[in-house]
């Protein structure tokens, strides 16, 4: 099978590599590029732990082929917090929002996208945005509380 040379921007830096068509973006990011914040959870689109921002939109990297992102811009938590924690991450920290933290990168990126579109979301809007990000530890309350506290008018 043919190798494809792809170039994309990852957290602001250009990244070029050879991939086969059947390589998943999640695996390429973790194993070839060494970016470990996207996590392999369900690997079928249900849990959101593999979330990345592709062209600013949260997507599931377990359902995307690496070859599809040629020419595009990817952001992960590593990129978001390059210059220290973002206010959102700080709010999560203050609220002790996570326990094991497996869902955290996906939550951070999903809520980052939400706040770009909607800086003052209601509780329902937050719940809707993270409905596809499963957390097995916290019951979601400290996650939602952190976002509400950060964004209250």
């Amino acid at each position: 099978m043919k190798k494809h040379t792809i170039t994309f921007r990852l957290n602001g830096e250009p990244c070029t590599l050879d991939v086969e068509a059947n390589e998943l973006l999640l695996d390429v990011l973790r194993d070839k590029v060494g970016v470990k914040s996207p996590k392999a959870g369900c690997e079928r689109g249900d849990c959101g732990s593999c979330t990345i921002l592709l062209e600013g939109k949260s997507v599931r990297s377990c359902l995307i082929l690496a070859v599809e992102v040629d020419g595009q811009e990817i952001t992960t938590v590593e990129g978001l917090s390059r210059n220290g924690l973002t206010p959102l991450q700080q709010a999560f920290l203050n609220h002790n929002s996570f326990q094991c933290g497996f869902c955290a990168p996906g939550m951070v990126l999903t809520v980052t996208e939400l706040l770009e579109k909607n800086p003052h979301p209601s509780k329902e809007e937050i719940q809707e945005a993270i409905a596809g990000n499963l957390c097995r530890c916290t019951g979601y309350q400290p996650i939602i509380d952190a976002v509400l506290e950060l964004t209250k008018k």
Binding site: A21, N22, S58, R60, C62, L63, G106, G132
Partner: protein, 296 residues
């Protein structure tokens, strides 16, 4: 977990390039749009195409446009684009209501309506809504283009009227004449989940017509002409709703699987009629719950 199956990948930048690739591969290719179904199916060995032909370089398929009450949805338009469109929200509220309940935000950023009906799983969300709007589907193939009604599209689970050398390029919906109202009811285990256990689309028109379609309760999404005839021109009061509910077991054929039992699905579709018909009538008259409010 990687994908074991190996395949080639092409991303033509013209429609004729897509059609050439499909012709060359003779049924061994699959068209890739958002990929949220397709990639999972390949990984789970449900399908094993030799080639994926990606549509995402075709700007012409990214068009979402509404003029004179005609909504054009290109094959590359995602559910989140539908959800964020003012025209969709105001003139095609069932599309808005449905798009908001498709899986999760992260899937909606990628998944397309065209892909949803090409996957054609029995629980697809777009089907019932396109059936009640009587949408037109645009198909391109080696000998030119053809249009189909949504009513002719679904042939069986994962089977559509699309030929292996054809591609669905877009969907057109016409805004109903006069006042209209409706609702999309989807039963799932939790919000953010992809798969409906049962679903119902109801569209009421000013001329007295009530259109109803069901999803997840038969091999394909289906309209219910007998029930529509019963409801035509009548106000859905408790007695009429009970009559409609009594017809259900003859109209739909739900199955028992891991997500729900036959009995539960049948019962819940009855509940959907009970809540949905009055809500659709109220919405047609300009009141009732806001679109997007969960009724079930």
């Amino acid at each position: 977990m990687t994908i074991a199956h190996r395949f080639d990948y092409e991303r033509p930048d013209t429609l004729s390039g897509v059609l050439d690739a499909l012709a060359r591969c003779g049924g061994r290719a699959r068209v890739l749009a958002g990929g949220t179904d397709l990639i999972g199916w390949i990984r789970e060995d449900l399908i094993a195409p030799d080639v994926l032909i990606d549509l995402k370089a075709l700007d012409e398929l990214k068009v979402l446009h509404c003029a004179d009450g005609v909504l054009q949805i290109g094959a590359g338009v995602t559910f989140n684009q539908l959800l964020e469109s003012d025209a969709v929200r105001s003139d095609f509220p069932l599309v808005f209501e449905m798009a908001g309940r498709v899986a999760s935000n992260g899937v909606r950023n990628r998944a397309t309506m065209a892909g949803n009906i090409c996957s054609a799983v029995p629980c697809n969300d777009s089907g019932p809504v396109l059936l009640v709007y009587e949408a037109t589907l645009h198909v391109a193939g080696p000998t030119g283009t053809r249009d189909l009604s949504a009513l002719e599209w679904f042939l069986g689970p994962r089977k559509t009227a699309l030929q292996p050398d054809e591609v669905l390029t877009g969907i057109t919906l016409k805004k109903p004449e006069g006042r209209h109202g409706g609702c999309w009811l989807k039963l799932g285990r939790y919000k953010g989940e992809d798969l409906a256990q049962a679903s119902t689309a109801i569209l009421m028109l000013e001329n007295g017509e009530t259109r109803i379609a069901f999803g997840s309760v038969a091999p394909v999404p289906l309209r219910a002409p007998a029930m529509e005839a019963l409801l035509k021109g009548r106000t859905p009061d408790a007695a009429l709703i009970a009559q409609a509910q009594a017809m259900l077991s003859d109209l739909i054929t739900p199955i028992t699987d891991v997500r729900a039992s036959l009995e539960y699905r049948l019962h819940m579709v009855g509940v959907m009629l009970e809540r949905g018909l009055p809500a659709a009538a109220e919405r047609m008259n300009g009141n009732g719950p806001d679109y997007g409010t969960t009724l079930i």
